[in-house]
Symmetry: C2
Subunit: 506 residues, 2 copies
């Protein structure tokens, strides 16, 4: 959809969103209810509404342009159409770094890079087939090697398939998978299922390898499919056995399941992937310095890298342009917020979290002064609410500042705890996390596929989530009180095996 179709005059847009007539800029009591919670609901008539905790003029200056200028969507087009897929270590990933620097500069936001050594996994030729038998003439498999998979021998890998639906089932099979290709099947049907089954992709192949399997096929973690495989990262232990591993389209998983009901099934897989030496890359960091407490940092982030299929429009181009736009709009305010707003565009979220670790390491001394951190990494859907991970009293502190989010549909706290894969190395430093939750119900239709392209992002949804991100960032940087830091994790945390954020749907 052309950008022009969703641009409204700022005044009209704000009027529509606030539900207020232009003559009544003070927020009406009715919209205050969900922002302040049912207990604090103002009476519908009679009582005079209390003055808001924040400047309405600033809210208009952030939300109005985010909804009307189409800048986030235009930037997303530059990143996806212009640069395209940007897997860590690729030329395109470096082009994305340079694009981000140029864009921040054009926005008048100070930006720099910080070095990150990243893995460089490169996809090669890949194909597979169900071999003919007395029950079938054979079928091609629609597959994608999982990131981190070693290659097969050039002539491919041919073996019998063993189906399992869980790691427990795999363990119960013991040595029976020796010499076989383990096929991880599951029942994912909605986005909320992702966390339940992501471990089959992330850890399944390593576990199968230890049991003597020679390959792994994982049913795509998908909520829609037109024979569409979904890639993603799989992890092998250092020094442990590594076997070729690929995702297959749900249709092909269904086919294997049906075929296996009738007897033995053999498949042939050819994967030509390669692991090159680690490459030099960068996080991109930008800052709007706080006017009163510049040493206190509100970090907002997304990841600049994407998988090598599709153009990473939802994952995580949308998050990138949301936080860039938040910084641009905040930088344009007549007065900077109290605290410093720092944008981090992490490199290598998808297959290594190296950027997240490099940032946490390089800025370890600063982390106690990180008063809030947010990562946008659940696609470009419309905003649904906000989330928090902080000590006692956090919601009460933030709630009065949520009112401008009500008309955007994001004025209430979600049940989910805030997080983000790239934030996970900050958990041990007890950084409070904040989040703008977006509608991810269709995110896994395209997640990690060649279909994650610009057309899948609705410009109006993106504009609304951008507006919510800009306002939430400002609120955290401006509100007088500070979030209490959350309790430390029960055990000293190293890099998490499966980050909580990834496991819960991002």
């Amino acid at each position: 959809m052309p950008v022009a179709t969703f641009v409204l005059p700022a005044s009209l847009a704000l009027q529509l969103l606030s539900g207020a007539a232009p003559a009544k800029p003070a927020a009406p009591a009715a919209t205050a209810v969900s922002a302040t919670g049912a207990k604090a609901a103002a009476p519908a008539t009679g009582a005079k509404a209390a003055a808001p905790a924040y400047s309405q003029a600033v809210a208009e200056k952030l939300i109005g342009p985010a909804l009307t200028e189409g800048q986030a969507y235009a930037r997303l087009a530059e990143l996806t159409d212009g640069i395209g897929p940007r897997l860590s270590g690729s030329e395109a990933a470096e082009a994305a770094v340079q694009w981000a620097l140029r864009s921040f500069k054009a926005d008048g936001v100070k930006a720099w890079t910080e070095p990150v050594k990243v893995p460089r996994w490169v996809r090669g030729e890949e194909r597979g087939e169900v071999l003919a038998s007395e029950r079938t003439r054979g079928h091609p498999l629609s597959l994608l090697a999982l990131g981190g998979s070693p290659p097969t021998a050039p002539e491919g890998l041919t073996a019998e398939v063993v189906e399992v639906t869980s790691l427990e089932e795999l363990a119960a099979l013991g040595g029976a998978v020796k010499g076989k290709i383990v096929f991880f099947n599951h029942t994912m049907s909605v986005a909320a299922d992702y966390g339940r089954f992501a471990g089959l992709r992330g850890r399944g192949p390593a576990v199968a390898a230890k049991a003597g399997a020679v390959g792994a096929l994982v049913r795509s973690l998908a909520t829609a499919s037109l024979r569409t495989p979904h890639t993603g990262s799989t992890r092998f232990e250092d020094g442990g056995p590594r076997i070729p591993a690929a995702s297959i389209a749900t249709e092909d998983a269904d086919l294997l399941h049906r075929m296996l009901a009738g007897g033995a099934v053999r498949v042939k897989v050819v994967l030509g992937s390669s692991e090159l030496p680690d490459a030099d890359s960068h996080n991109v960091i930008a800052e709007v310095r706080g006017r009163e407490k510049p040493q206190e940092i509100v970090l907002i982030s997304a990841h600049l890298d994407s998988w090598d299929v599709g153009t990473g429009a939802h994952d995580d181009g949308a998050g990138v342009v949301m936080v860039m736009e938040a910084a641009r709009l905040i930088a344009k305010l007549p007065q900077a917020p109290r605290r410093t707003v720092r944008v981090v565009l992490f490199m290598n979220e998808e297959n290594g979290l190296r950027g997240a670790r490099a940032y946490a390491e390089a800025h370890a001394a600063e982390l106690p002064r990180h008063v809030a951190a947010m990562e946008m990494d659940a696609g470009g859907g419309r905003p649904l609410g906000v989330s928090l991970r902080a000590g006692a009293g956090g919601q009460e502190l933030v709630r009065p500042w949520l009112k401008p989010l009500v008309a955007l549909g994001a004025g209430t706290f979600s049940a989910r705890e805030a997080g983000g894969a790239d934030l996970s190395p900050m958990v041990s430093a007890r950084v409070p996390f904040f989040g703008v939750e977006v509608d991810s119900s269709r995110y896994f239709d395209v997640h990690h596929t060649m279909a994650d392209t610009l057309d899948k992002v609705d410009p109006q949804d993106l504009a609304r989530s951008t507006a919510a991100t800009a306002w939430a960032t400002y609120a955290l940087a401006e509100m007088p009180g500070l979030l209490v830091r959350p309790e430390p994790p029960p055990v000293p945390s190293g890099p998490p095996a499966v980050s909580p954020a990834k496991a819960s749907g991002h």
Copy 2:
């Protein structure tokens, strides 16, 4: 879904469908209304319902098993999982012929083959890309050669792209497309749009070639896409210029459109297709001989060939198993219907209609005794109604026989005229056409794609349309009266350039 999950006891299924309590086998007045039309509606109370025009016991014997035995779905699994894609001239197409013969034999239905010479077009390597420019690092194109496309040179075809949205727009460009690749874009969004835009695929490349274009890219005729190209037939004139032609995914069409808004775009396409000599193939014909008027033929049909991507589950495996099952169930009746029921499984509907022409030619002398003909070729969706193409009084003649279809959702006449690509050579012989209309609203999500696989067919929808087909076939073969033959077409008809049925959505 396993077949077992939708199998109900026949008695219960019929009870649910008829809306009648088991103690009242006579059709209730309420369900008679839509079967007999508003004018003939029986009073809701008081009057005694007229005896139906048909045997209720026969209706139960056809509809009950179709809904409860799961035979159509099991057969569809054999055809799609067992044999797979079956483009005319391929070994798989011949395997499908042998499978159909074996299946009819197992069903106790007399069957034979009749020879058809078919084209043999074979897909080869195929890929394409938007070339890098100052505006993009370049993009792969998700494409499929159109059936009938010649290959490019081995090194591929590289040229600038010119976008058009209609053949008129192409004509207006005149010589401006010389040396260019014409990109046919359009706005198909729902199934009903297919007829409006199918000509861009079918005739666009030939027209572009005549204007001097060196290649053609056609936006897929799709109602959903996950970067999913839809193939299909394109036709060049004998002796006219032929250029490489491919369909591209809607996402890639959107990308080209966006890129073209910014300036010139060059693409590179490599197609390795080849046209081999015509091959020997067959229509499969089966018959249940009529008990009173065996010389009168009710023809029911579908096409056995499919495109070479996907397994042709909806197109037209579903139609094949519906008509096979209709014949099986009719053959099992204690008494054959008055007229002969003839099943024809046509070869080469997709890229030539050679089977349809061979049948019409070989059976020319018999066509005046074809009293009705039907082709099921709109997918395996649930039944929505019936359709007719006949002379005066046809609906009135058939309507009293539609009552058993009411509870299946198919008891009324659709606004559409009955037809079918393979029936088109019978138009000049004035054969009356009948149809069971099915829900095709999602048909073009998978039509002519690798995603047209068994999982896309809902077993319950298929069972219902199979039941409707079986009953409609029986009704046409048993009802006392004969349909009046339709008027001859205004001009003597040769093989149609674009068959009316294909153009209207099949």
